[in-house]
Amino acid sequence: MARTSPLMIQVATGDPRPIGRQIVDAVRMKIATGELAPGDQLPSVRGLAQQLTINPNTVAKAYAELATEGWLEARQGMGLYVAAPRQRLSDDERDRRLDDAIGRFVNDVIPLGFPPGEVEARVAHELHQLAPRKRA
């Protein structure tokens, strides 16, 4: 029997990100890092709302967004599951976003004055840490 995976996330009020956004970001991060694996069942809308003491509609909206983006899939009458990974963006869009992210990163990092080699090594280390562990 399928069991719900615990969703260990926190939301904060008084944050510039609305609570629904915080849930979307947290679930995406857990999927990206492999902490939630494809096929894992998410808590029910009501269950997660109670866990976080928030309005169930907020959870429902966050789940709907995650499902639309392809991170989660609904199974009829059974709830929501982490979807199998697939290409979620077009190649051009992925390229564009990568360029954007690198541009922002480089702008932030240049003024810090580290040698490029050290920055590259640290980035490589972080990427390795976050890489999905399912390949192991």
Partner: protein, 303 residues
């Protein structure tokens, strides 16, 4: 949309107390379903609005409808469809909890004992206690239990969690959000506690000086406000020329602007005023509401 799709509808509703207009030609339409939070400075007219809607007080002019009925001619059957919990949690203080409960059970045909028990179970309230002996939190819980047990279509809450301790507040919110009795109920709720509104509200309604100044999902309101920091030499632009200005501060030689409905064009404005650099960031709901209300908030005449 038909008028019965709105639980609350006012047209040019005004209430005057002497020289003061508490409600100023208020046009408000709150759709059925979900949780609506009304926010406003002290004296914005929230409690006056509720008193008129509940038929406790007549308007000076205009019209107020609640569940499609004129609020000034509500029948007992209409009132049974509306639960009302106010800040004072006013109930006859000399009556016993069991007496009040029996009276309400008798009065409301849709009385739901299970809903009552589920809510009151969070509080240490004994049937033989007199209402006057209950603490503020216990009275709040008792009041909400009575209102939910009544099986209302509409629940109107006037600052229900004011002065409650953290445990009572949480119990109150849980009853409101997760109790089955509240499932088919539209909730209209007024509060000053942004933390709570962020957790609870689907819709944010802002009243200022008796008028409606904003209505949308809370996150859409937050998105309207942005915080800019600019390095402008000398005094910077005249505040009257700053588009969408809500709040301005000069901190450590940098100008901070909280502005409404400004896009990247605001950066051009700042640069045109001589800013050497300008950056923007989003703000929290609390900060956004605060700045929005501060703009029209009463303040002593400048010295």
């Amino acid at each position: 949309m038909h008028s019965h799709d709105f639980v609350i509808q006012t047209r040019a509703l005004s209430k005057r107390y002497g020289r003061k207009l508490a409600l100023d030609h208020l046009d408000l339409a709150i759709p059925r379903g979900r949780i609506h939070a009304i926010v406003g400075a002290n004296g914005a007219g929230k409690s006056t609005l509720f008193r008129i809607l509940m038929g406790f007080m007549p308007p000076t002019s205009g019209e107020a409808r609640i569940l499609g009925r004129d609020s000034q001619s509500l029948t007992p059957a209409d009132r049974a469809r509306i639960g009302f919990v106010n800040e004072e949690h006013t109930l006859a203080s000399w009556m016993r909890v069991s007496q009040v409960t029996a009276m309400q059970r008798h009065q409301y045909p849709r009385w739901n004992q299970q809903a009552f028990d589920n809510v009151i179970g969070h509080y240490h309230v004994l049937p033989e206690q007199k209402v006057g002996q209950l603490s503020r939190g216990e009275r709040a819980g008792f009041n909400l239990a009575l209102a939910l047990a009544q099986g209302p279509e509409l629940l109107v809450l006037d600052e229900p969690t004011l002065g409650l301790d953290v445990v009572a507040k949480r119990a109150f919110l849980e009853s409101l959000l997760y109790s089955n009795a509240a499932d088919d109920c539209t909730v209209v709720y007024c509060s000053h506690q942004m933390e709570e509104i962020e957790r609870v509200a689907d819709n944010l309604i802002i009243l200022e000086r008796g008028q409606l100044t904003h209505m949308s999902a809370p996150e859409d309101f937050t998105a309207r406000v942005s915080h800019w920091v600019a390095d402008v030499p000398f005094k910077g632009p005249d505040p009257r020329t700053v588009p969408g200005l809500l709040e301005m501060q000069r901190l450590d030689g940098l100008h901070h602007y909280l502005v409404l409905d400004q896009d990247d064009g605001f950066e051009h404005f700042l640069r045109a005023c001589g800013a050497r650099n300008a950056q923007s960031m989003p703000v929290s709901l609390d900060r956004a509401v605060n700045a929005f209300l501060a703009k029209h908030h009463a303040a002593p005449a400048a010295a």
